[in-house]
């Protein structure tokens, strides 16, 4: 087996003399403690020396990208026929295998072997001393770093980061200078501030006019397109309440105006540059969110590649980290947008749908950034298609809002129907009240016996009145009836008061009744029935009470019969 080892001086090819040692990976380091034991394990077979530092640099850069250089390929073809090659880089091994058909090996034993070789490098390679290796290594590393700084493709977006930073600084500076011009010249001509509101126009007017007394004679049509403003300006100049200024003051104010105008021109130029660079480096991102928002995202992410490694949810809240961590600490709702709030799509959306559009836009932006960072093409089809989809979604959301409002109008009759159902329910509640009427009926049935009693009393009076007119037989019957009724009442009263006394009275009454029976045979049957009742009464109080009740019923029946 052969081992490919890269050194600053060139490529070394070692032959493994004792491959059995490789099986014991844990003990392999012992073999490389001394140069003599190391020579027993491996020996130098071939060495491909770099001719100069540029050759070393080109070979090293290709090795970093896991590609074999032309010299390395020739070197390996020459010495690696039918051998297995151990390499330090698995990707390089795959590349060598594809191009040269040489079997390559990369595992932990090979890595341990590489460490041993590095430890004994100067002893194993004759003619390569430690004194020579140091400066060679240092020179190569410097060349490599310089190469990276010059030609690293990832560094192209630093121009965008610097440009957007400068653009924001320029905006602040320009605003400060313009405010200073207004305040400074305001001492001399304070009315001008309200007449001319634009900063650039104000600076141009001041530069042209100088002292306000010159305003009447000058033509401001090139600066102020509105004639009314020019007329107002000239009238105000005549009656201005400002102080007088000297020529020295005016010259300084003019120089400041020159600064303002120069800065505004440079800002416009820088914006054009930024737009062209953004369209070149990140066309899809620019198509989706615009140049300024895209550039700010790249600047905040650190680089386009760093931004490509972020998920969509992070891109959504880039620029709102302070609000995010405050929300997380206090357990409030987290922010919905960061830098992308200023994208035009979110500006179009209504307040209700800004959050949804923000989330959708962040997801599509993440895809666009990844394509811009990792893809080779410069087309912006992904950005334009995503933007169309988002605009369509926004219209759908806004339209559904109208649909909901229409639905609410439809819902009103349903609400009315529901109220009607409630009214029906109240109607149903009155039905149990109707069922309450039978209870009222019960109350009426209780009142009827009183009426019947009153009727019975009236009947008694009628009987008393009819006595003299009645026939003799009827008279006798009636008289007997009355007496019997009176006796019954007395008996009842006595029974209610004292049981034994009642019983005694009953016996006496029985005797009387027996006499009556003897006297009047016509009433015998009735008296017999009465006697039976009395006997039953005498048996017991409870039974008497029951019979009293039954008696009452019988009385009622008799009265009804009458």
């Amino acid at each position: 087996m052969l081992v490919l080892f890269e050194t600053p001086a060139g490529f070394a090819l070692f032959k493994v003399l004792d491959e059995g040692k490789l099986d014991k990976v844990e003990d392999l380091w012992k073999e490389f403690t001394t140069s003599d034991s190391a020579r027993k394990v491996v020996e130098l077979k071939a060495f491909n020396k770099f001719e100069n530092t540029s050759d070393a640099l080109s070979a090293a850069t290709l090795i970093i990208d896991s590609k074999p250089s032309k010299g390395l390929r020739k070197f390996l073809q020459k010495h690696c026929e039918g051998e297995t090659l151990a390499v330090a880089d698995s990707k390089l091994g795959n590349a060598i295998k594809e191009k040269l058909k040489i079997d390559c090996l990369h595992n932990s034993a090979v890595m341990e072997l590489m460490r041993g070789l590095r430890n004994q490098l100067t002893e194993l390679i004759t003619g390569l001393g430690a004194q020579d290796l140091g400066p060679m290594s240092l020179g190569l590393s410097h060349s490599l770093s310089r190469y990276k700084l010059k030609f690293s493709p990832e560094k192209v977006d630093t121009m965008i980061i610097q440009a957007i930073g400068l653009l924001d600084d320029l905006d602040k500076e320009l605003n400060t200078y313009a405010m200073r011009v207004r305040e400074w010249y305001g001492w001399h001509f304070p009315e001008l501030t309200k007449i001319v509101t634009d900063n650039i126009q104000y600076a141009k007017v001041v530069k042209m006019m100088g002292n306000r007394v010159n305003a009447v004679n000058l033509d401001f049509s090139e600066i102020l397109s509105d004639e009314e403003l020019e007329t107002q300006l000239k009238e105000a100049a005549v009656i201005s309440m400002g102080t007088e200024v000297s020529d020295l003051d005016l010259s300084n104010i003019r120089e400041l105006c020159d600064q303002v105008l120069a800065l505004s021109e440079y800002r416009a130029q820088l914006y054009d540059y930024l737009r062209s660079r953004m369209n070149t480096i990140a066309p899809n991102l620019t198509a989706l969110v615009g140049e300024l928002v895209g550039a700010r995202l790249i600047a905040h992410g650190g680089s386009l590649l760093n931004l490509a490694k972020q998920p969509g949810s992070t891109i959504q809240i880039l620029g709102a980290e302070k609000a995010l961590f405050r929300a997380l600490k206090t357990k409030h709702s987290t922010p919905k947008y960061g830098l992308i709030y200023h994208a035009s799509l979110i500006g179009k959306a209504s307040q209700k749908h800004k959050g949804k559009i923000s989330r959708s836009l962040a997801a599509k932006t993440a895809l666009a950034i990844r394509y811009d960072a990792l893809g080779d093409g410069e087309d912006n089809s992904i950005g334009t298609e995503s933007r169309l989809k988002l605009e369509t979604r926004l219209q759908v959301l806004e339209g559904r809002e109208l649909g909901k409002s229409a639905g609410s109008t439809k819902g009103k009759p349903k609400i009315e129907v529901y109220e009607k159902d409630r009214k029906k329910g109240t109607g149903a509640l009155t039905t149990p009240a109707k069922t309450y009427n039978p209870a009222a009926d019960l109350v009426l049935t209780e009142e009827t016996p009183k009426k019947s009693e009153l009727a019975s009393k009236k009947r008694k009076h009628n009987e008393v009145e009819t006595e003299p007119l009645a026939e003799p037989a009827e008279e006798a019957i009636q008289e007997d009836g009355d007496q019997e009724d009176r006796k019954k009442k007395k008996k009842k009263n006595k029974e209610s008061k004292e049981a034994p006394a009642g019983e005694g009275d009953g016996e006496k009454k029985k005797k009387k009744k027996s006499k009556e029976v003897e006297e009047e045979p016509v009433v015998a049957a009735a008296s017999e029935v009465k006697k039976k009742k009395k006997k039953s009464d005498a048996d017991g109080e409870d039974v008497a009470m029951q019979t009293e009740e039954s008696g009452k019923k019988e009385k009622k029946k008799k009265k009804k019969a009458c």
């Binding site: 795959n94 490694k309 998920p311 949810s313 993440a366 990844r370 394509y371 990792l374 893809g375």
Partner: protein, 127 residues
């Protein structure tokens, strides 16, 4: 299946390894050890809880998930491409195609041995 596979989709699993990968992904989905989608896979890599990352080679355009190999290299996590995003979606238990997913770590999981074996198989593709 596309006749021509994007050369950037490397390392690409062969048919047998693809079946093993999809089987493990299905089991991981059942054990709630799976994150579906490129954004969620990115988050697992950033948090360092990913065991390995699987991506679909027939993604169009493929660049929208090529940031995952970069992150996986930084975090020393194995990654592999499978031929079909439709099959990957089915294995994840989703009705839509899935272009990227990540199997997450769980110390007490029953899948640990199978995941370890699969990681070794994926890493062998890079040699």
């Amino acid at each position: 299946m596309e006749s021509v596979v994007n050369p950037k989709a490397y390392p690409l699993a062969d048919a047998q390894l693809t079946m093993g990968i999809l089987d493990i992904i299905q089991q991981a989905a059942n054990y709630k050890q799976l994150k579906k989608g490129a954004n969620e896979a990115t988050k697992t890599l950033n948090r360092g809880i990913s065991e390995f990352v699987v991506m679909a080679a027939d993604t169009e355009p493929l660049e929208i998930l090529l940031h995952l190999p970069l992150l996986a290299e930084d975090k020393n996590v194995p990654y592999v491409f499978v031929p079909s995003k439709q099959a990957l979606g089915r294995a994840c238990g989703v009705t839509r195609p899935v272009i990227a997913c990540s199997v997450t770590s769980n110390e007490g999981s029953q899948l640990k041995l199978q995941i370890q074996g699969l990681k070794d198989s994926i890493e062998k593709l890079l040699i």
